[in-house]
């Protein structure tokens, strides 16, 4: 059924389709509309779930962990500071291999305080052991949310669905929302193999000595690598169901013969797409790579996607101060041993909600021609706004 919905509302409905047993959340902008909408569904009787309004994101993550371990399908959502407050639990959830789904309405992390969008929150927990899927638009966010439950429960790895705060969460879009029956048939009831059950009582969360800790981490890494295939397969299965794929790990579009490529995650992909339509005459068409799955990192798919490129512009929505962009450095690392790999141009932009206009496509493409351009920059910085010594 196609309907114009605000992003947050669409996510709430997608979650409801998956019939979570327990939802726990704590209010934080710009995630709030998601849980408000879920609360409303519960209040109206459209969703039968235990909705736990916790006293912090830390407890939100803990509640859904406890619930999932006790055999309940559980969901939470947060953003920004909330992700960081949760971070200790996020590592814990992943280490315990408990399947959970969480939406991150990406937002900058303070200080200074900023309620606006970038992706530094989810980037800060990239090593937590969660699967990270980034949605480029609200339809993708809806589809990824539904897929996330199946991926998480198949792999016993938690999945974080990232969508840009405000830009997606607060934007109306026409969404093709699957039917309840459709999803009920596609997503099997939740069953956790180590479920807390008095009839077969296991102990979860033990102390592991150095003799076995390396094996724990290895097994988690191996499971993440195996998850690449599950993510692709799930997207394919979902396409069979709905006729709509989001592009598994990553997708390539634009001019296949282009020598310049642009790689981006999230809503920036849409902006670049439109920019290319407007400015390809001026600066040429690029090969556009939409990175959907950030963890596990689709190294092989990326190597294929960049074949034939001389330049690859990697757009980051976060910065690792003292090094550069997060995605950019990872892409560089993955392509380091690829013969004839493109030159990497890494730019962070749109930090803390800075507007990303369509002209960004033109501006980015123009940097490729400049041999003196730095390997990394905060692209849209205005140095005039800084004290001289801070430039």
């Amino acid at each position: 059924m196609r309907k114009a919905l605000e992003g947050s509302q669409a996510i709430a409905r997608a979650v409801a389709l998956c019939r979570p047993d327990v939802v726990a959340a704590y209010p934080i902008t710009p995630q709030t509309h998601i849980v408000e909408n879920l609360s409303k569904l519960v209040a109206e009787g459209d969703l039968h779930t235990e909705f736990v309004s916790v006293e912090s994101e830390f407890s939100a993550a803990s509640v859904v962990l406890g619930a999932a371990a006790a055999g309940a399908r559980a969901y939470t959502a947060t953003a920004s500071q909330g992700v960081l407050l949760m971070s200790e639990v996020l590592f814990n959830i992943a280490g315990l291999r408990v399947p959970l789904v969480m939406t991150v309405a990406n937002r900058a992390v303070g200080a200074p305080l900023s309620i606006w969008n970038d992706q530094s929150d989810s980037m800060a927990v990239r090593d937590s052991g969660w699967i990270q899927i980034h949605a480029a638009d609200n339809q993708e966010a809806v589809d990824a949310t539904i897929q996330a439950f199946r991926i998480a429960e198949t792999c016993e790895i938690p999945v974080m669905v990232c969508m840009d705060g405000f830009i997606l969460t607060h934007t109306m879009e026409v969404i093709d929302m699957p039917d309840t029956d459709m999803i009920d048939g596609w997503l099997p009831p939740y069953e956790f193999s180590r479920n807390l059950d008095p009839a077969a009582p296991t102990s979860i969360g033990t102390l592991v000595t150095p003799d076995f800790f390396a094996e724990m981490r290895h097994s988690h890494h191996a499971a993440m690598m195996r998850a690449l295939e599950v993510i692709e397969q799930t997207d394919a299965d979902y396409a069979d169901l709905t006729g709509r794929a989001s592009g598994g790990l990553l997708t390539v579009e634009g001019d296949p013969d282009a020598k310049v490529g642009i790689l981006a995650m999230g809503s920036t992909v849409g902006t670049l797409r439109t920019g290319m339509e407007h400015f390809s005459d001026e600066v040429g068409a690029a090969r556009l790579i939409k990175l959907r799955t950030f963890r596990p990192f689709p190294s092989d798919a990326l190597r294929d996607a960049v074949k034939g490129l001389d330049h690859l512009i990697v757009v980051d929505r976060a910065i690792s101060p003292g090094l550069g962009g997060v995605v950019g450095t990872e892409v560089a690392a993955v392509l380091a041993d690829v013969e004839g790999a493109p030159r990497i141009h890494n730019h962070a932009l749109g930090l803390g909600g800075r507007d990303i206009p369509e002209t960004i496509y033109r501006d980015l493409m123009q940097t490729v021609a400049n041999p003196d351009a730095p390997a990394f920059s905060v692209f849209d910085v205005d140095l005039n706004k800084l004290q001289p010594e801070d430039r």
Binding site: E50, E55, V63, N92, E191, L196, P198, A199, A200, P201
Partner: protein, 353 residues
């Protein structure tokens, strides 16, 4: 499901019978250990120190709470000494996540039980560090949200697992590794936090203090709390021979004297109001309690005038408790400190029948 039945079969082969599942048929010849007339929720072979008050308290709680429960356990001694992989001392579903989130983990478990329509009671366990300090916020949230959870705080009055650092539960003037005594200090400068009053201020149905020295009273409180649909809280005074520096055989003696001198009043509060106390038959001086413990050794340095002052201070605190809660009672009471401890042939006098 097949995973589970396979695991049960393995356990049968290994331990002779299914793990603590009373509804499952017992095999023909149970061992003496298995044939005991109580639920062994916390099994032997755990790695607690000799004479551990916390291990004892947890065992006592499990006996009357189990087996249809699940436990969220905060980081701490209890968690570490029971679950060194690949072994677990627990015979109930049990989960440890982090130091400060046991109440929230338990909230999630309870929400899951509600969602699934199950009646399994959820317990949350934490030490005083997890409860008085780092997990305090999560605990407050759990109580406010009115989850059907019994939270048990095993209070050994310091961070024992990390090496005896002071917590907000450490009593005034006790030495720990972060509140040592010296020329300028007489141990911990601050008072023990009055947690129970804070808990009770959440207006929950039941909040109580118990002691390992009075197991019948402790278990009565657990059973009472188990029967309440809603949040309940129990703090159990659990001596730590290592941290309090007393003989491992003296754990109960120390706990008993803490109650008998008034420093650890055994009170029960319902909806914030004191509804019951365990009266003290003959209050003994706090020095009877302090002198057994190395953490108070500096209070018995005859040459230090501050020692007398601190002893007097602790006595004043005990007297204050006795007065505030009316611990002196009115005459001999079969449920006072002497009455409840009394045993006869076949068991505790109060516990029979």
């Amino acid at each position: 499901m097949s995973d589970k039945s396979e695991r049960l079969a393995e356990l049968r082969a290994k331990h002779g019978r299914p793990p603590a599942a009373p509804h499952e048929p017992k095999h023909d010849a149970p061992t003496a250990r298995e044939a005991q007339p109580r639920f062994r929720g916390l099994e032997s072979g755990h790695r607690a120190c000799q004479g551990c008050g916390e291990a004892l308290a947890a065992r006592l709680v499990m006996e009357c709470a189990g087996p249809d429960v699940m436990v969220a356990n905060a980081t701490g001694c209890l968690e570490v000494f029971t679950t060194a992989w690949p072994q677990s001392a627990w015979r109930v579903p049990w989960m440890h996540s982090l130091f400060e989130n046991a109440p929230a983990i338990a909230s999630g478990m309870e929400a899951a039980m509600k969602a699934k329509g199950k009646n399994t009671k959820v317990l949350a366990f934490g030490g005083d560090g997890a409860t008085y300090d780092i997990g305090f916020q999560a605990l407050s949230g759990m109580l406010e949200r009115y989850h059907n959870i019994l939270y048990v705080c095993y209070d050994n009055e310091a961070y024992m697992n990390t090496g005896i650092q002071r917590s907000s539960s450490t009593p005034h003037s006790a030495t720990t590794t972060t509140s040592p005594a010296g020329k300028e200090r007489m141990g911990k400068r601050h008072l023990k936090k009055d947690l129970l009053s804070i808990i009770a201020a959440h207006h929950i149905p039941y909040a109580a203090a118990a002691s390992v020295a009075y197991p019948q009273d402790l278990q009565r409180k657990v059973r009472y709390a188990m029967g309440i649909e809603g949040p309940t809280f129990l703090v159990i005074h659990s001596p730590c021979p290592l941290g309090w520096k007393h003989d491992s055989a003296a754990t109960i003696e120390v706990a008993r004297r803490a109650v008998e001198c008034g420093l650890f009043p055994l009170v029960e509060l319902e909806r914030g109001a004191v509804t019951n106390v365990m009266p003290i038959r003959d209050a003994r001086p706090v020095t009877d309690y302090l002198e057994l413990q190395g953490r108070f050794a500096h209070l018995f340095n005859g040459e230090d005038p501050r020692a007398q002052e601190e002893r007097d201070h602790l006595q004043a605190l005990a007297d204050h408790n006795i007065q505030t809660f009316g611990l002196n009672g009115e005459g001999d009471d079969p449920l006072d400190t002497s009455g409840i401890a009394a045993v006869g042939r076949g068991g505790p006098v109060t516990g029979r029948g």
